[in-house]
Amino acid sequence: MLHLARYALILPAVIVMAVYLPMLFDMSFGERVPKTHLFYSPVSKKFIWRDKLLRPAEESLEEVHHAQFVQMDQDGKRYTRQEFEKLLPFIYYKNMELWGLLPLKIDGASFDKEAIRADRQVVELKPKQIAGRSPDEQVYPLLESQPDAARLAFPEERFRLAGGLEFINADFNRPDQELSRKFNQALKKAGVAFPLRLAAGNNTILKPFDNGFFLVDASGAVFHLKRVKGEPWVVKTPIDPALGVRSIKVSENRRKEFRALLLSNDDRLFLLSSDNYRLTPLPLEGYDPDGMDFKLIINPLYRTAVYSDDKIIRAVVLDKDYRPLVSYQHTMPGAELTPAQSVFSYLAPFRIDLEDPNSGYFAFQLKGWGTHSLIALAWAAALFLVYALRRRSGGTGIWADGLVVLLTGAYGLIAVTVLPLEE
């Protein structure tokens, strides 16, 4: 009983230390290293980026307080902030205007403010946004896509997937049988095989227009559903059910080039075009949707797909037809342990993180650091051996304590010595 009680305190103590000690250490000594901002310059035709360095650069082009930030290109050439922005005129077009550099002349073509604004778009897909990686809304609003007013408005109902669609009226908090029946009939007519498996929409009214929902049915076929003047409007898309849809992220942008990003079960990413629902594959070598942020930056000349985990950022430059032109990869300064993290990695063998930047769900994530972890375990075990020999008591219980230290390093060592074994 005494042993049970003791380990009932040691186990939570180890978990609590593994969660909070690294966090406290980070807060006291660590610094957050943001991800690299990587771009392709339409001016120099080079990849160009901004980094925060772990150690300040020896020679800086700018005043001291910016010394930790560097702007650089793939040839290692450094730029000042202004030079950097001038290399990315489509992004910093408002500054270009201020500096009197509009209209731009690139490759013989001329771009004024309106032309730039009309052909700019950024679409992102973060691991958190993939279906099943965050708590889902589960009940969705189907907006009126041709409203009488200038602004979009929420309907009184939301629908859930219950085989077909089931609309629930918000005023009464009760299912609206009539509306549900109407929509399910329309879906059935369009060839939907119930039950529906996935509904993807953009559930806000803060968007220029409404493009409705994409629904995936039991057979894997994808349907496009809108509410037009209160009536269901359904289209069966030509997407091959064999593709297997994992997630769809709807994009409602004035450019109206594509309607959504579509992630297949085999982790390929597609653009779902506005005309005829064609799928355009994005050539993203080594893309892992569960661990990488994806961003597609569109400007009047190029599309740049940028995707990164927490160590390496990659970019592929595509032409207007999404054919790859040139690609690049860059190891981010954050890939390296900061000096403080490096010290800590010798002190304790692992950390436990509750929050996961790539998921909307909390999880107990045990993170070790390879050989450093082994060293951290080794010294803790050695210290424990000295401690055990000096106490020369405890009998078999000391072995259990030893095992705890061997598995949890400094955390276990602190716990078993603060709560000494009683004979």
């Binding site: 009983m1 009932a8 609590v16 708590p135 589960q138 908090n173 929050e355 769900y361 909390f362």
Partner: protein, 222 residues
Amino acid sequence: MFRSILLKEYTKLKAFWLAGLALNLCVAGYVLVALRKLFALDHAEVVWYRVIHLGQTFYDPFMYLPVITGLFMAVAQFLPEMKNHRFRISLHLPLAPHLIVLGHVLVGLGAVVLILAADLLALAAMTSLYFPAEVVAVTLATALPWLLAGLTAYLGAALVLLEPGWRLRVFNLAVSLGLTGLFLHQGAPGAYQRILPLLFILVLAFTPSVLLPAYRFRYRKD
């Protein structure tokens, strides 16, 4: 004999339990009034948007309530036992120490659980008045870790109060605070959903630790 201990602790805690329950019901009443006000001020679908899409937690006052309830019950139960170390009377009873402590903790924990169950029930009932079942489920999944935090707060406070030595008292306090904090991280509603069973096991695993100070009452050398 074991029953006598349960009965004794019940006698001790009855009034405090009613006070704790009353406090919790007051908060539940307040949340209900605030919820009604939300729907009175805005269209229902807009409130739904805020709660479902933006993750507004209208039941925020429930976040720290279980912790407060757990602390309150533990203090009501064990602080008087610490005055002149009155707990020695119980520990001298002719019963194994783990049964003596278990008896105390069962009643205290039971009292906390009953109040928290009332909270959960109230929250489920008022949420289902205004929202679909999906929202009720997410709301409960969001509030459950808070309730578990109430249990660790009770156990932690018992652990700190019963421990006779100062050094371990500080250690117990740190572990209990940290553990309780694990259940109160801010995330999207439902973020704890997938580790709820694990958290529950963690609370269960932590429970026997309350025995340790009872043993220490006899075994300590300082």
